[in-house]
Structures are given as C-alpha cells and as structure tokens.
Amino acid sequence: MIRSWLQAFRPALLVLFVLAIAAPAMAQTDLSGWWARQSQNDNGYANEPVDLIGIPVSADGRAKALSYNIASLSATERQCQMYPPWYITYGPFPLQIIAEQDPITQKLVAYRIVGWGDRGEQMVWMDGRPHPSPNAPHTHGGFSTGTWEGTSLKVVTTHFKMGDMKRHRAFSSDRATMTWTLTRHDDIITVTGILEDPVYLAEPFVLTEIFQSSSATNGFPLTPCEPIEELPMLHENPALVPHYLPGKNPFMNEMTQKKGIPLEAVLGGPETIYPEYRKKLKDTYKAPEKCVDSCGGPPAPRGGGPGPAGRGAAPPAGRGAPPPAAGRGAPSPQ
C-alpha cells in the first residue's frame, strides 16, 4: 500500500525534495565547543626570518620587523611576552569557546575564548558594556565586545599589548585594534580578522582562518611563565637589547635566494597584496626549478622512513609552533 502510494506520487515527492533543499534555511549560530585549525599555511611554513609577504606593513612596520633579532626574546622582560589576539587568525592554536550564561536569566553574558600555549585568554563581552578609556591598561588578551550580525558574531578587540602579527617576523603596536567575525557553517567556523594599526600597518590587514569541530581537548594549555637566565650575555649586560641596525639584517635576502620571491614582495606593503602586483611580477619572477624545502605532500609510508628530501616534513618547531600533540585537535600546519 505504502509502496504503491510512493510510486504514484513520486514526481510530487521529488519536487518537494528539490524545494526542501533549495529553500532558504535558518542558520545555527552557537559557537561553543572545541575547534581545530585547518586553513592557511603562511605561519606554519614560514622558515625564513625575514618574511613579510602578504602583510600591508607601513614603512615603520617594515623597519620594526627588520630590526628584530630573535635573541631579544631571551631578555628577562620579554620571555613571558604572549601572542596577541590577532594570533587567533594567524597562529597554530585551536579554539576552545565557552558560553558564559547568566545564572538567573540564562542569557549570554560573554563568550570565553580559552588561552592556549602562550596566547592569552579572551572574554568577548556580549552584554553591551563599553570599551575602557584609551588610557586603561592593556593586557595580553585585550578587551573584546561582541554583537550578532546576521549569521555571524562580530567582535571588536582593543587594549591589547604589542605583539607578533606573524611569528617572530612582523609586529603590531599597542594602538592596534582588531575587528573579527566568526561565522558557523555546519561543523566549521570561518573567522575573518581585520587588524588595524596606525603605527605598523599602511592599511587594514585582513586574514581568514577556518576551524573544524573537534572532540580533542586542550593539548597545550595556557601555563604560567617564569623567566629564567637564557642568554648569559643579557645578564652580564642588562642594557643590551638584541637587534639589527637599519640595513644590517643578515637574513634580508634569504627568501629571495631560496624561493625566488623578489625582495620588494618579501618586505610586504599594501601594493604587494592586490592582483595588479601579480602582473608586475610576471616578467621578472623565476620560480626555482623544484621545491626542496618544506614542500608538503602526502605523509611518508609507515615504517618506510622519511620520504624524499623535504617532502611531508613538518614545519620547523619554535615558539608558537605546533606542539607535539596527536589527534584531530592537534594544530595543523595546513
């Protein structure tokens, strides 16, 4: 009986099915949970110390980046320097988002973005509270407020400290602000981040990142940091600040030599991030004949030892590099 009814009205049911999938749907917006990072590759595969590719740095931002010497991280006052909120879009860390509900009304007071490794915790206040005065102290996590806009959560973050815009390579000032949207699409969240910095950026720096729902827990929790003596020279001479003078950065040409990228592009700037620049490169860029370093590719077969030189190799470790955790929730270099 049911079968004959289904056969008789199959065309009608097909039409209904097509309409069901074509009609507008209501989007889910809850963001709580564990989310593993999935998307862009720049930070994980950044090997050369001078690499501002794709960043619309200002002249001051470029000068700041070229003066940076990684030994400065060993100075006592910098050892516990943490990554700024911008690192949500650029860093290797997964996300853990917790909804903080009012215990009486059950309404949303804030989203708490749990700290990870050396990225501070962030509270995204949803209750309409204002941002503090411009003169209020800045913290590692900054001060964030959120509002729902369409299917997205729009967050504005201010009052965060100077920090890495790109790991050990480019830096934002303490006057920077960040506007970012989190949009849930089924089992992923897309984050669009916009960093504005009147000091070190010539125009807003826009980055996107994707996080996938994950059942893994925090494999690299935020931990207390205690400064120790790392480099004797810094303790023998506390006034020493490791740096490079203008024009003296010894790594300036490394990316050009290894990857054929023109120095002008390596040093970033707004003119290098739009399609017109690609046309400018067309007649001058010469790709290396073959990739030899950090080339990705499928993992080496089990028990077969390392693959061909450089293939499948993980990006080198370092501060802020993916920790040696396993499972879906582990930060991915992808």
Partner: protein, 262 residues
C-alpha cells in the same frame, strides 16, 4: 498523470508558506527578492594569505598545505604546462574549486531572479549559481560545473542561550542585525588543478562554498569559505577561505585569458 501534477502543485503550495512561517522563518519569494545580503558588485582579491602559492606559480613539487594523497602526488609530479597548452587545457587551474584563490576581480550580478552570476577577470570564467530546481538534463562536465545555491538566513529570534544579557544599568541592547549566508554546492566538474603547479582535483570532486559579508567602516569584505571533497586525490577535505574587498566600480576590471604557466 494529471492527478499527480495537481498533487505536486498542491503540496508545494501548502508546504512553502508553512516553511516560511515556521518561527517567523525565511520569507518566500524569488531568490533575488529574498536575498538577505547583497553580493552584487565588483570585488578584488586581497592576497594576504598563501601569497607564495597564489601570487606566483609555485615551484614544481611545492605542495605545502594541501592534504593530498599518494595518487595526487603522482599526478602532480608529472605536471607539464606545455602539455596542458598543447591539449587546450590552459584553464585547468581556473576551475570552480580553485578560482577563488586566483588573484583577480569578481563581478557578481543577477542573471535573472534565480541565478547569480560570478564572472572573473583572471581566466575570464563565468559561474552560474542556480537557486531552486536544478536542470533535469545534466550538461557535460565543465571547469565551473553545476552550482546549486541556497540562502541561509539569520534566525529572527535567537535562542534564549544566545541572547545577549542586558546590563541593568545600561540602555537595552539594540536588536541583532539581520543577514545571512549564501551556500553553494558545485558538482559536475571537469578535472583540474587546485594549484597552478599541477596539484589535481578529480571530476568527482564536490565543492561547497559559503559567501559571507563583513562591514568594517567604509569597507565591505566578502569571505568565500571553500570546502573541497575529493576522495580520489585528497586525504581529508580541503578547507580554506579567501577574502575580497568591494570596489566602487569596474574601473580596474582587466580580463586576461587562462594561462597554464602564470
């Protein structure tokens, strides 16, 4: 037959308004009329991410960041742009799964009430995003495939646990801004490249995309989230999102043909 047709019409007439009314749900009407966001206009790529795999042709063998499998590597290792040129396949890296990564401009317009058209100046490609029923006859596979589009609206009333808490001392919170997302599913693809240097996707690949807008001061940004499912060549699905910035007009629109090398 006539009874079945009448039944189908009656069913549609009964169900669509019901769906529209459910919880004050999505409005009924042609896709163009009910669009929760306006995607039309000229958009320019912001190449702030994956620059060295997009702005220049990466070196042969540079597969960083793509979850490729062994079969994919075999194909990519044999990449030969001269061969693609000889076979008239210069557009292999401009197919739907890759086109949003190509630095260039998009021109988005409504072709009709149910079809959103995306043209690209880089590679001169045209994508047709079809709302509603798909054509009964499948055309031959193509670089841009067949795209089924669907609006995803923001909820008119947020669930209690997502409603922001009012602070007693302050003015009530403004109501949430309405909006939405465009979801697009693309199939019937001609096999091509995810990257210019020959990283392949197969004809069985399925591309899922989400189009979202963000306002920031005077700028409007478009983020296109792309998910490529391709069991033939990918170990896991490939997820990546590309930002675009809205431009006032088409003054910088610069059509250029596909290139197998650049």
């Amino acid at each position: 037959m006539r009874a079945r047709t009448l039944f189908a019409i009656a069913l549609v007439a009964a169900v669509v308004p019901l769906q529209a009314q459910r919880g004050g749900g999505p409005p009924a009407g042609p896709a163009k009329t009910v669009a929760p966001i306006d995607l039309t206009g000229y958009w320019v790529s912001i190449v702030s991410m994956d620059w060295r795999w997009r702005m220049v042709t990466p070196a042969k063998g540079d597969y960083a960041g793509v979850p490729m499998n062994a079969a994919s590597k075999t194909v990519a290792d044999a990449w030969d742009p001269a061969k693609d040129e000889a076979s008239g396949e210069q557009c292999k890296s401009y197919g739907a799964p890759a086109i949003m990564s190509v630095p260039g401009r998009l021109h988005i317009t409504w072709q009709d009430d149910t079809t959103l058209k995306i043209e690209t100046d880089a590679g001169q490609q045209t994508r047709l995003l079809q709302f509603g029923p798909v054509p009964p006859v499948k055309p031959p596979p193509s670089w841009q495939g067949m795209s089924a589009a669907q609006w995803q609206m923001s909820s008119p009333g947020l669930p209690l646990m997502l409603r922001p808490q009012d602070r007693a001392a302050d003015a009530p919170l403004p109501p949430p801004v309405r909006g939405g997302t465009l979801k697009v599913t693309t199939t019937n693809l001609r096999a091509g490249y995810l990257r210019k240097n020959g990283v392949p996707y197969s004809a069985d690949a399925v591309l899922t995309e989400y189009y979202d807008l963000t306002k920031n001061g005077n700028d409007t940004l478009l983020t296109v989230t792309t998910i490529v499912d391709d069991p033939t060549y990918l170990r896991t699905r490939r997820l990546i999102a590309y930002p675009f910035k809205k431009e006032a007009n088409g003054d910088k629109w610069d059509p250029t043909p596909c290139s197998a090398r650049w």
